[in-house]
């Protein structure tokens, strides 16, 4: 299904939930994903745990370690997705969020073929920026799995920060190509984007933030200038108030650490906490 099924998540504003596969066990993950679907989550990102997740804050780092400790492998995640599609008849789009090395080790063609076969729609790889997309773009496309592009505040900040920080930045060495990066880069990324665009809300790693200060509207406007691919905002979003603000500026919000934290606290018994929390977040869309 791939990119086509993802569209269905964005018919209205989408709430996208992340949970780490195998935290604390794969059976719990299966139950939690079914719960999230019942609550009206538009798309679920399943974290395929990696030993060294450099884009993650402490909450998801710890979840990755728990999942690896419980023996979660790439194959086990594929089996989980297969079960969700076949036995549980789950129809919402599903994405894998992971790092490039586990895919490289599995073999790109084999990985994407299997992903498509079990019913995965997209993959998000934080350590595979746009310039390196050629690594997997063709094979992902061949197997109809959307390769999600990420855009960050720094994608368009390159030219702005000297003034915003009031810092002297001698620029005589910048070539004209580098000087024009900011909005051009966003547009280049947006033009090739598939499924949805993952807009990173703020600097830093994943986690729970009290405040988001990035001018999201300006970045969304740059993206809108070249594509109607939906834009979902993630990193740091944890409260209904943030959802209310962000969902006005974008097509969806992505929440990870706040949900993973409930699982860290509740283990295999986090169902009521997840239900209450996710309802409050979806209501704020």
């Amino acid at each position: 299904m791939g990119p086509q099924r993802i569209r269905q998540a964005f018919t209205d504003k989408a709430f996208i939930a992340f949970i780490t596969g195998g935290d604390p066990t794969l059976d719990d993950t299966r139950r939690y994903i079914n719960l999230l679907a019942r609550l009206g989550v538009g798309l679920v990102e399943i974290g395929l745990p990696f030993s060294d997740p450099i884009a993650e804050g402490p909450i998801i780092q710890a979840a990755s370690q728990r999942a690896l400790a419980s023996g979660t492998t790439p194959e086990a995640i594929f089996d989980l997705v297969n079960t969700l599609r076949q036995d549980d008849a789950l129809t919402i789009p599903l994405a894998i969020m992971t790092y490039l090395n586990p895919l490289h080790h599995y073999g790109y063609d084999a990985w994407f073929a299997r992903a498509n076969a079990v019913g995965l729609d997209a993959v998000i790889i934080p350590d595979l920026p746009f310039e390196e997309h050629d690594e997997v773009r063709a094979v992902a496309s061949h197997h109809n799995v959307a390769l999600i592009s990420m855009v960050a505040p720094t994608t368009m900040q390159a030219e702005r920060r000297s003034s915003s920080l009031d810092m002297p930045r001698p620029k005589q060495w910048l070539t004209s190509e580098a000087r024009s990066t900011s909005s051009d880069r966003i547009r280049r990324i947006a033009q090739k984007a598939e499924g949805f665009i993952y807009l990173v809300s703020s600097l830093g790693v994943t986690g729970v933030r009290s405040e988001i200060t990035t001018d999201l509207a300006a970045i969304v406007a740059e993206i809108r200038a070249v594509t109607d691919t939906p834009v979902a905002v993630g990193f740091g979003i944890s409260t209904p108030a943030q959802v209310a603000v962000v969902s006005k500026q974008a097509d969806g919000v992505i929440v990870g650490s706040a949900i993973v934290r409930l699982i860290a606290e509740g283990g295999g018994r986090a169902d009521p906490a997840i239900e209450e929390y996710v309802r409050s977040m979806i209501d704020a869309l």
């Binding site: 450099i54 884009a55 090395n101 080790h105 934080p126 580098a178 880069r185 990173v200 830093g204």
Partner: protein, 394 residues
Amino acid sequence: MRGRFGVHGGQYVPETLMSELGQLAEAYEHYRGDPGFTTELDSLLAEYAGRPSRLWFAANLTADLGGAKVYLKREDLNHTGSHKINNVLGQCLLAKRLGKTRVIAETGAGQHGVATATAAALLGLECEIFMGLEDTERQALNVYRMELLGATVHPVTSGTQTLKDAVNETMREWTRRVADTHYVLGSVMGPHPFPTMVRDFQSVIGREARAQILEAEGELPAAVLACVGGGSNAIGIFHPFLADEGVALIGCEAAGRGIDTYETAATIATGSLGVFHGMKSYFCQDDHGQIAPVYSISAGLDYPGIGPEHAYLHDTGRATYVPVTDAEAVDAFEYLARTEGVIAAIESAHAIAHARKLVPTLDAADSVIICLSGRGDKDVAAIARYRGHTVKED
């Protein structure tokens, strides 16, 4: 393709860092050819770091091993006691040109952290160092040394609490605060432009050594040896010899308790192709592509990967990589101290250990150069512990 060594290298980092890396690459390309920059760097290397470092003819070693003439490239005599100062002076000067006011760095044994803290103190930059908790305990004196130099040291408690995790945490910190901060990466690893930039800053070792051996011997050496973790001292001494096809280039990896055990850090011997820490290269990893916990007595070589240019030199066969165990390295550490009166870093002792096997097989007319990447004061307590002695430092 930019920043590639064969299939290796690249820029596998979060989008948040891509603009910064692009600007860093542009700036480096500009300043490497800027006379104002290179003159200032050369002057600091000479007057502050004490370059050129000596190429010492080790007569006792040569007589004892009974083969080729042995020369030691004395990077241990640099200010701060290792080759790391060459790179940090270059990067910190560049950081200043970029308008940065703060530098961050990872460190394993502490040598790169001490060097970075030193350059930051000299050049008036704020400095924060990330060091695995286990390493802060193994190298407690170096932690205090960095603090004396005005740096803040953050013990890293994630993962295996060693060099790999220190790199993870420094990268995370860079994504948090990138506008005023430069990441002084300590080896020829990570995303482009670091492997190229760090190589260029370290190549002063090989340029000097090549001229010095030609002066002393009138001909090129049969072999050049260096220890390899990420591989910055090795690439630094290898690079100016790359075109000299008759010169064997030999990198000595940390085999820990042996390459047939899991307690090893020998990446070429036991690793496979992968993508990690911003680069495609060889990594120690498990059956599912998880990065493997590695082990070496040497905190500076205790790293699960190797720089992408080394991976390429291995692929092409231009350089050879050999594993050296803890036991061999400790023996060599003691041997060099007794024979030549030089206490080398345990990292460098890995290269000495392989030289003990190689040199006797060579002709007396030949010469070899061993890069003595650092001094061993920091390792004395650990070697004593390894031998079952108790040394009280306080």
